[in-house]
Symmetry: C2
């Protein structure tokens, strides 16, 4: 029997309990021993819930119990999670976490500490919910040099964009719908402003390139500026708008990373990733293109990933699973030097056509039914810096969305 403790009895914590109850027998076979939850830490009480037998309010009871070999941290947030996780490792307990903020900020340090102590620090559930992506990156794509990782990493924004596309809704209405469905929080900022995707692509980039990618360095735009009219234009172009979180190494040189809405067409492997689903596209220099798809959030899918990490930690008691993530900082390419094509909408007036021609050269005008008094087009490939400068000379810009086709 291997004793574990779960820190936090929220959605994921209760999911972990449920998964271990439901699949206990098959998990025992996979882990080689029965996984027993000895403690659950939460400040709240849960009257009538069988968890009460295991509930403790003081983390020290767990930290000081030498029988507990594995800690599952599913509280979220950096504090006090960081303190609890570090202390667990210092006391010889492996740690599993689903906490993207913690991993993005302290992943390198906690991996180092786990290695030094011959323990494990695993975090499959921190990105892509149930989708296996961390372990494939660490253990399956090891023959490759990663050239690109691009993910639809946030289910809430993907749901909102799908809803806008399917039902012609404006952003605010689709957000309200997502909140009513329980897909978006009452304070949705972390999702809709791209911060959640930003933490996740920081983690994936650090693992793919083996060095620290600080999330603060990643250029991040959310989806709050996307309108029903933008979606109409996308449809007219045979395209969809997705919130992409990308990190890309160009021409064997340095890496750029960004989170921003992107127009893509049907030939992109992430085009069919709709609703609350997530998808992660990886390009390696020998494997070519691979894509991973599944539920990016939700109680049971996320708990499935957490428990799979528990199984792995149980099989590796006393052995560190090697993960390359140096604390040395990866200097990212200045975003102003990155090149894209841009979809642009401007207010139409008599001089607009000439102004656009002088700024961008010959461009193809995009027309959709029912949208008037404006002029929309796709620019040639240019740097973000170029685009900024042209934008300054172009009064009346309504919207601008990057294009990947």
């Amino acid at each position: 029997m291997i004793n574990i403790a779960v820190l936090g009895y929220g959605t994921i914590g209760s999911g972990v309990v449920e998964v271990l109850n439901t699949n206990g027998e098959s998990i025992k076979k996979r882990a080689g021993d029965r996984i027993n939850i000895k403690y659950v830490l939460d400040l709240r009480e849960f009257p009538g819930d069988p968890v009460m037998e295991k509930l403790v309010h003081d983390v020290n009871i767990i930290l000081e119990d030498p029988e507990v070999k594995i800690i599952v941290e599913v509280m979220g947030g950096v504090n006090p999670a960081y303190k609890f996780v570090k202390e667990s490792l210092l006391r010889g307990k492996s740690v599993i976490t689903s906490n993207k903020e913690l991993v993005a900020k302290h992943g390198a340090e906690l991996l180092d500490l786990a290695k030094e102590k011959n323990l494990n620090f695993l975090f499959e559930a921190s990105v892509g919910g149930g989708i296996p992506i961390i372990r494939p990156l660490n253990q399956s794509l090891t023959a490759d040099e990663i050239v690109e990782i691009t993910g639809i990493l946030n289910g809430t924004t993907n749901y909102i964009l799908s809803k806008m596309s399917d039902d012609g809704m404006e952003f605010e209405a689709a957000l309200k719908n997502a909140q009513n469905m329980g897909y978006a929080e009452r304070n949705p900022e972390a999702d809709i402003e791209g911060h959640d995707s930003c933490r996740k692509i920081a983690i994936l980039s650090s693992l793919a390139f083996g060095m620290q990618v600080d999330f603060e360095d990643i250029y991040t735009e959310g989806i709050t500026q996307i309108s029903a009219a933008d979606i109409k234009y996308a449809k007219a172009l045979g395209a969809r708008i997705k919130l992409f979180a990308s990190s890309i190494r160009e021409n064997d040189k340095s890496v750029y990373a960004m989170v921003a809405p992107m127009m893509i067409k049907v030939n992109h492997p992430l085009y069919s990733v709709n609703d609350v689903f997530n998808g992660i596209f990886v390009r390696g220099n020998v494997i070519g293109d691979v894509m991973f798809y599944g539920s990016g959030a939700g109680k049971l899918p996320t708990a499935s990933a957490v428990v799979a990490d528990v199984v792995d930690a149980a099989k590796h008691l006393g052995t560190n699973i090697w993960t390359i993530w140096s604390s040395k900082k990866l200097e990212l390419t200045d975003i102003n030097q990155v090149q894209h094509r841009f979809f642009v909408r401007v207010k139409d007036d008599s001089s607009m056509e000439n102004k656009i021609k002088s700024l961008f050269g010959e461009v193809e005008r995009v027309i959709v039914e029912g949208v008037q008094d404006e002029y929309a087009f796709i620019t040639p490939t240019m740097t973000e810096q170029d685009m900024k400068e042209k934008k300054a000379n172009l009064s009346g810009m309504i919207s601008m969305i990057r294009v990947r086709f």
Copy 2:
């Protein structure tokens, strides 16, 4: 330095050499040591190729060299691969293989032997080329009970079906095109009759359910009967025809497995897997649906998976990576009891409508432009046995394709 030997210098073998040359530095970081190819076994000579320095014609030179820790078997076929692999394990060398015939037939035995000797027998490249699927099944989906695995596991047939769909070609013309492109062999039987997919789903099923699934027990139909007219009907229905290799556990009861063409619609995650790409859909009882996508064949993608296994074996010298695949046989559900809906085309005559009504009840007729003198419809859900009996009473059936929508 870790010495390895490569058995077979064909497409994949030369790919393995190329990948280790191209990405040697990053692979060294991942493996913790430099991977050195000490020998390459092949009966042929390769004048002018640097491989000549390492080429041997006698496997005993490799087997008897204690410096060789890992054997890469990429010869294909059961004989003499089985003999060489078994002997390698008996002499204390871990084995990596891309050989689906060998794994489907002897996987359980070779895994047992590797475990007994504290070695590893790894075969990521045997299914799905470069796509990580074996390791995710063994190590990532360990918290789940697998309910379904369905794959498009053969790039050749997927290319042929895509070509038929895109260009309206008949099967024979699309096969010829695939042969000209180098995607199909001159003797294409193993691909187009479904045997290749059958071996692969046997491997995935054995791993998913932890017991031996014999490929001989899997009902297998190829794509040779699919016509341009079938594809036209599929399009009229908003569907595509794909060669599915499935194993499905129904209602917590026994598992059925089959390889057969299937009509699917856009809401199926494998709908967008086209051309030579492969996709593998997995449903678990807690994780829900996940999908893996990428190049299912090809020199470098397959070699990438082989070398990733070499890295894993190098990191686990002296430690067996646990894989659950008992030699105990899994008794599959009799295929006659499996239920589907069926798309059916019959020659039309004055009495057909009534005959169909009496056999199948009210069905919806499917009509496409330019196809006359026939009656096409989709049946209600029924067992394969029922369908067989009805088919016997229905003269003039032109084609019958299972439907998953």
